[in-house]
């Protein structure tokens, strides 16, 4: 599959990241590390109820506390019209957004913001929260997706008009989507085997180690500066401007280093509140969430319930799939139900598919994106039932995947026809891997699963400035979440023909670079990388023009080769090549500064596919699962910096393992969150895991100059089913609900033993 391997000097090598030294010495400034003189501190009062009418809020005692400078509630935010407006790759409803940032008529989840205070110290701000008197009328609540869809469920918003769904009365169903290909009725008639199963997953949090943090400073003339940890400084500017009624030109957002996001920092929580408080007080306001607030009020991603039906011939050809996916959205519409439906069976070439999904509001925090939003949930169902199908047919689970693999030219059920894709190669590589042939011991089992994610392009702007001494600065506009600055600098060095260490990549604030869509969708190295390559080419074009000027020849007569301008042929003349440094030194005399630029809405993202192999050992006494070995094969297009590509694959796989085995939001009967901390919300720790072997398949994306596909998201798609399939292989017990934590697995093992004893 791999195309011609060109000789690159930097692309494909493992360079030291440009922000590395600051990050191993503690010098790097993350969200909460930023401070300004005269700064005061803000804290948020949050709802203790899952669902309640706000009858009144009395802030007078809080305002009277010495040291308190301002108290805000939803009265201080203008209401927004209920309409879907384009924002980046999706649509947002600012009516919902302003209500999520600060509750208005009702509180809709435990942790929902009700008021905010700015005071001279954090302690005073916290004391002031205690003095705010909120009268609530507590309402019945619903936190389960299936319960929320029932006719007698407590209704969160009786004014909500569902999209694509007919209803007589108020409903919690915000949206219904459908994707169809062929005729599933006919497909099931052709099937020799038909299997139907239902699956359930729990809501999980992105779990970034850095809590949300912001410093906002609004001056008397209305100019606002915001420093925050975010996946998109332009997103923050847009949303704060809209929610506070400020023109875009009055807001400058500088992203700090970001301590993890995984999709969870693609929205605003504190930023509009800190900006509003600062504008009221005339001082910079700093706000940091506690870990408990992060769990109660930010993220998570949806939990869901699903029904799958699959049909296949005796030979293993899948003839039809039907699926229904119901995802909880949290308090406002917006579960990733469309991508969940679209990705479910995308690795396969199936003639007849019908997938439908429901976006359902419940009394939980509004979901935010989490790494391939929606896809891991539906893939847990799809990849579990494919495994069951293989077992039913007595086929090897990788062979059935290869037999049905989507290839170049396959029409996906969600619409497009695939170009060059590397899915089948990921299956082949998994099949040939030592891991797949290694022997297993007692209580051990092996599972495989595949996954798909679209990856995206989007709006990117980049500038490549040639410095006087022949070095270069690359300015881009995407917060670097896992090494993207290194990749951008490597591609720029490749284009310019200079040393990697002579390229300094920086991330501009919203006033320093043109608009960039946020860091998400696995897009930065692909889309912003493309803009950087084009900006570098623009700089090279200017460098060639300068050489032409010096040589007094036409610019077409000059070519760029390995960091030097050279005559295109002997016909042009006999000139000594001019280095980039020599041209940079003469720039003042040949036309002034040399600045390459590019801005575009990048199209042509290459979809990502992965196939994972997982070995587990199950302790029959405790239900505990040990991951013995894990191999993740992925089509990465081309790895610009292989170490950071491997890192994405390893990190995504481990997040998926956490989702599979431990992580869940646990709500009590009052609808409040019982585990808002890392002790009880257990993300994987080092001692839970083996090494994660990342195997990179390189099937280049023909619409990127270096063949880049996004790589960050697809590795979280296969793990849940891979682990479930491995547990089934070890124990014979099929887990149809996540997480497969020790008590749940033990209960399943016990009931299976009782069943066997009775038979």
């Amino acid at each position: 599959m791999s195309s011609e391997q060109k000789d690159y000097k930097w692309v494909g090598t493992r360079q030291i990241r440009p922000d590395g030294h600051d990050k191993v010495t503690g010098r790097a400034k993350f969200g909460s590390d930023f401070s300004l003189s005269g700064m005061i501190h803000g804290r948020v009062l949050r709802s203790p109820h899952a669902h309640a009418i706000i009858q009144s809020i009395d802030t007078s005692k809080a305002e009277a506390l010495p040291g308190v400078k301002a108290v805000i509630t939803s009265k201080d935010l203008k209401d927004q019209p209920s309409e879907l407006k384009p924002a980046g790759e999706g649509m947002v409803n600012y009516r919902d957004m302003t209500r999520n940032v600060m509750a208005r008529e009702k509180v809709l989840y435990d942790g929902h913001a009700v008021a905010a205070v700015a005071a001279t110290t954090v302690e005073i701000a916290e004391a002031a929260l205690e003095l705010i008197d909120v009268k609530y009328e507590v309402l019945p609540h619903v936190v389960d997706v299936d319960a929320a869809m029932k006719d007698d469920a407590p209704i969160l918003d009786d004014t909500m008009v569902p999209i694509g769904y007919e209803t007589k009365g108020p409903t919690n169903i915000a949206k219904h989507v459908e994707f169809s290909l062929g005729d599933t009725g006919k497909g099931f008639e052709e099937a020799d085997v038909v299997i139907e199963r239902s699956y359930k997953t729990e809501a999980v949090h992105q779990g970034y180690i850095e809590p949300h943090a912001v410093v906002a400073s609004v001056s008397e003339d209305g100019q606002a500066q915001i420093w925050c940890c975010t996946q998109g400084q332009f997103m923050v500017r847009t949303f704060v401007g809209q929610l506070l009624g400020m023109p875009t030109s009055s807001i400058r957002v500088t992203p700090s280093e970001i301590g993890g996001g995984f999709g969870g920092k693609t929205v605003v929580y504190l930023e509009p509140l800190a900006t509003l408080l600062s504008s009221k007080v005339g001082k910079p306001v700093k706000m940091i969430m506690t870990r408990e607030e992060v769990f109660r009020a930010s993220g998570p991603t949806s939990g869901g319930s699903m029904d799958f039906k699959i049909g296949a011939t005796k030979a293993g050809k899948i003839t039809a799939v039907e699926a229904t996916v119901r995802l909880l959205a949290g308090a406002f519409p917006g579960a990733p139900v469309a991508p969940a439906c679209m990705c479910a069976v995308a690795p396969y070439d199936i003639a007849n598919v019908h997938v439908q999904g429901f976006d359902v509001v419940v009394n939980r925090p509004k979901v935010a994106a989490y790494r391939a939003p929606g896809a891991p949930i539906s893939a847990f169902g799809a990849e579990s039932i494919v495994d069951e199908l293989a077992k039913e047919l007595g086929m090897d689970p990788l062979k059935i995947r290869k037999l049905n693999a989507a290839k170049k030219g396959t029409k996906a059920a969600y619409g497009p026809t695939f170009r060059d894709i590397g899915y089948e190669e990921t299956v082949d590589r998994a099949m040939d891997h030592d891991h797949y042939k290694a022997p297993l011991g007692p209580n051990q089992g092996r599972g495989v699963a595949s996954g798909f994610w679209f990856n995206i392009g989007g709006e990117s702007s980049a500038t490549v400035n040639i410095n006087e001494d022949g070095t270069a600065v690359v300015i881009s506009g995407n917060p670097d979440i896992g090494g993207s600055r290194a990749s951008l600098a490597m591609m720029a060095a490749e284009e310019l023909g200079i040393e990697y260490s002579d390229v300094r990549p920086i991330i501009g604030d919203t006033a320093a670079i043109g608009y960039n869509f946020l860091t998400g969708g696995s897009r930065v190295t692909f889309a912003t990388g493309l803009a950087v390559v084009e900006a570098a080419k623009d700089a090279v074009r200017q460098l060639c023009e300068r050489a032409a000027k010096i040589w007094e020849v036409d610019a077409e007569g000059v070519v760029w080769d390995n960091g030097h301008a050279k005559p295109a042929s002997t016909n042009v003349g006999d000139f000594e090549p001019l280095s980039l440094a020599a041209l940079a030194a003469q720039a003042p005399k040949t036309g002034g500064p040399i600045c390459g630029h590019n801005a575009q809405n990048v199209q042509g993202a290459g979809p990502g596919f992965a196939t994972h192999i997982c070995d587990v050992e199950v302790d029959p006494e405790t239900g505990g699962v040990t991951i013995l070995r894990y191999t993740a094969v992925q089509d990465v297009g081309r790895a610009i910096h292989p170490s950071y590509v491997e890192g994405q694959i390893q990190g995504g796989a481990v997040q998926g393992i956490g989702w599979a085995l431990n992580e869940e939001y646990i709500y009590n009967s009052k609808g409040t969150l019982d585990n808002p901390g890392f002790l009880d919300y257990r993300i994987p720790v080092a001692s839970d895991l083996p090494m994660i072997e990342a195997v990179m398949v390189e099937c280049p994306n023909d619409r990127h100059p270096y063949g880049v596909r996004g790589v960050g998201e697809v590795p979280i798609v296969p793990p849940m089913a891979a682990v479930a399939n491995a547990i089934e292989s070890a124990t014979g017990v099929r887990m149809e609900a996540l997480p497969m934590s020790p008590p749940r697995l033990l209960a399943a093992l016990d009931s299976s033993n009782i069943k066997q004893a009775a038979e």
Binding site: V24, E210, P684
Partner: protein, 160 residues
Amino acid sequence: MAKHHISATLNGEPVEFLCSTRQTLLDVLRDELNLTGSKEGCASGDCGACSVMVDDRLVCSCLVLGAECDNKKIDSIEGMADGEKLHPLQTKFLEEAALQCGICTPGVLVAAKALLERNNNPTETEVRYWLAGNLCRCTGYDKIIRAVMSTAADMRENAK
């Protein structure tokens, strides 16, 4: 209430600070001494992002009060490099890409250094259990564990 006047040694230098009774060592480092390399991820001792050494013991600085630190020796990430010379663990973490976002990195490095000072030949399992108190959400730990093992191997080689 009057603040406590504390004298301590921080990264080899004498230091004095005033702190309130409720301020943690992490608060003191970040808010009083302007050393923001130690991070607050949870404030409950679960994530290890604030790991520092107090009298050569590895602790979560969010679980130690500033007022407890009188006459103590405190070592934080800011003191790990020797001037311009990075500690071998810092160099190895850069070479082997053992960090992605970098928020957990200071705590992981402080904890790993404490391990290697006690045991310069740890098994993979020993490294994994020693670092089990340092949460990393980005890397899946693979490259972190490898970097620590590889640094240990280098240190053993250099000690020969």
